[in-house]
Symmetry: C2
Subunit: 339 residues, 2 copies
DNA sequence: CTGAAAGCGCTTACAG
DNA sequence: CTGAAAGCGCTTACAG
């Protein structure tokens, strides 16, 4: 370990030279011999810079935080990847956290909001963060980019094109010949509202009557709730668009329990792709979203803010959402079985 | 924002007093009136301490990092929770990261290993971390606790009682009357080896002949591979213990594809519980492990090391693994269908 | 081309 | 009981 001071002493130079060798700064007008001597001592001691001292001096930590609501949700995988790659390219480290930890008074929150250890925050929350925490976020200079949610602080939000995703999913079902198509996903969360809007647009364009969204909670339970509500109603759609892969999982379970066959009785498409879609039986058709690009854009937005440059917020619509067909969809039954 | 210096100026006191007010230190022999004035200015400015300066001065950041291999694996949920709670109780913030980011030269790794920003690391890896990175880990003073893996650096590892889990899972199947029971999970990773050992012990205790583990990869694919191998063999077990819930998911898919009914043809128990076990059909019987306790113990171990106290490493066996029965198991078929 | 010095914002031992 | 000062380890403007 050791410090630059110690290296300087051992190499017989000043700390300015040591710092220059480490950082490759212009101060670098030193003889090759001096540089080599310094590098040898650095190697010998296994010197590593003290990040706290650096951050204090540079007024920048080189670390950004990503906070999401349920970190185990598989849909984040690509986003994390996109964020990580973009951050590494800029020389930043990424740390992850769970939105459930953002409680007023938590040390996690203190670290996020304190000066010095986190340069920027990428936040994805379905609304869990309470008003007091939001007030803190607003009061601090640390830039916060909201992803997948259109209520970004100071308009700083980025989202995928959820309406397009809803449209793509619905269009696929229309193309298969379905006319009784519904959408499940609740209305509280903005992306869901957008997806439902895309569903409704596709329906209208095809001369079909869109229905209100089937309001549900989130997670796998949403799928279960959706089917329960449908069964309780007099409606018998032949196809369903659900909010995400986990909802699809819950829907599969409920369909199994109710003796409803997928896709023979009911076709299903889920927004968002994830590995597990391939492991379900039947494999679940999904809409792949540009999550990696969303993550990369969020990193760029933080960089722009820190450098006082302007940046474009809003929709990340390239590449466009694309349907990944799998066996959970089929043409509607010619003579529907009653269920 | 502002600094203590600015607060001191506005409140007409010295920075020592400001610091004392903020930290509640003994220096605290100040009049109530002084304290109130300082607090008012702190409030007014929305002052937040600079963590980098603190970390530099205290030689401690108050942040620990948790690095796991596939952060979206649902089995980590409870462990993260246990870590978070224990860390908060100690006044520490927790940050998460993915083991795939621990590449030599990555800025993420630099932040982990550098002095100043991370006080300790909890690492869970199936072996992804390459030798060069391990060498770095060893060379730095930052304590690293290996969880679920018995090759901890300097013997600093903690693991759940995988052998007991294997035993519990197997015993449940034996109790149901199964005699042809197999274990799937590969042999590369130590916990799997332990689970297989527990399986073998339970079998022997029941006077049954344990079989070698069916070697597979990891993740959902493991379940698929296991069934493929069984089908290719002449063996027809009536029950199977799989390494985790994701493997169970893959096994379900493979069983469906092969026309094998669970549990009628084949009973299944998975090590590790996760929410999705309830969403599968049939719901998947699992063994719940003390993951939250494992996480809490890892935090305590870091604390002990930092405080130069001794601490106990090894197995976290309280509470013991417990079987959560679900519909994926049943007595063996009286007259097995051929498959 | 290289070194001495200031200062980032904090905590704390010390002097008064 | 309170203030002035040192120092954590770094970077960088400045002097030589």
């Amino acid at each position: 370990m050791g410090t630059q001071k110690e290296i300087a002493r051992r190499a017989g130079v000043s700390v300015s030279v040591v710092s220059a060798v480490i950082n490759g700064t212009k101060h670098t007008r030193m003889s090759d011999e001096t540089r080599a001597r310094v590098e040898a001592v650095i190697e010998e001691l296994g010197y590593v810079p003290n990040d706290a001292a650096r951050a204090l001096r540079r007024q920048r930590s080189g670390t950004i935080a990503v906070v999401v609501e349920k970190i185990e949700n598989p849909i984040y995988r690509d986003m994390f990847h996109g964020i990580y790659d973009a951050a590494e390219a800029r020389g930043w480290a990424v740390v992850l956290g769970d939105a459930r930890w953002m409680r007023s008074g938590s040390h996690f929150l203190a670290r996020l909001l304190g000066q010095g250890s986190i340069d920027g925050i990428i936040l994805r929350s379905e609304g869990l963060v309470d008003d007091e925490v939001v007030a803190h976020l607003r009061a601090r200079p640390t830039p916060v980019i909201m992803v997948e949610g259109r209520h970004g602080l100071d308009g700083r939000w980025l989202a995928i094109d959820d309406a397009a995703a809803g449209r793509v999913a619905t269009q696929h079902l229309i193309d298969l010949g379905h006319r009784q198509i519904e959408f499940a996903g609740g209305e509280r969360w903005v992306p869901t509202v957008e997806r439902h809007r895309g569903y409704a647009d596709a329906m209208r364009d095809a001369g079909l009557e869109p229905r209100d969204a089937i309001r549900t909670g989130y997670g796998s339970q949403a799928g279960t709730e959706a089917l329960t509500q449908i069964i309780a109603s007099r409606r018998r759609p032949t196809a369903l668009v659900v909010n995400n892969v986990l909802s699809g999982l819950g829907l599969y379970a409920a369909a199994h329990d109710a003796g409803i066959a997928i896709p023979d009785d009911l076709s299903v498409v889920a927004i968002h792709d994830a590995d597990i879609a391939d492991d379900l039986r039947p494999p679940l058709a999904t809409v792949r979203m540009p999550m990696a690009e969303l993550g990369a854009r969020a990193v760029e937005a933080i960089a722009a803010i820190l450098e006082d440059q302007s940046t474009r917020f809003g929709l990340v619509d390239d590449p466009a959402p694309v349907l990944l067909p799998r066996a959970s969809t089929a043409p509607p039954p010619s003579s529907p079985r009653p269920w």
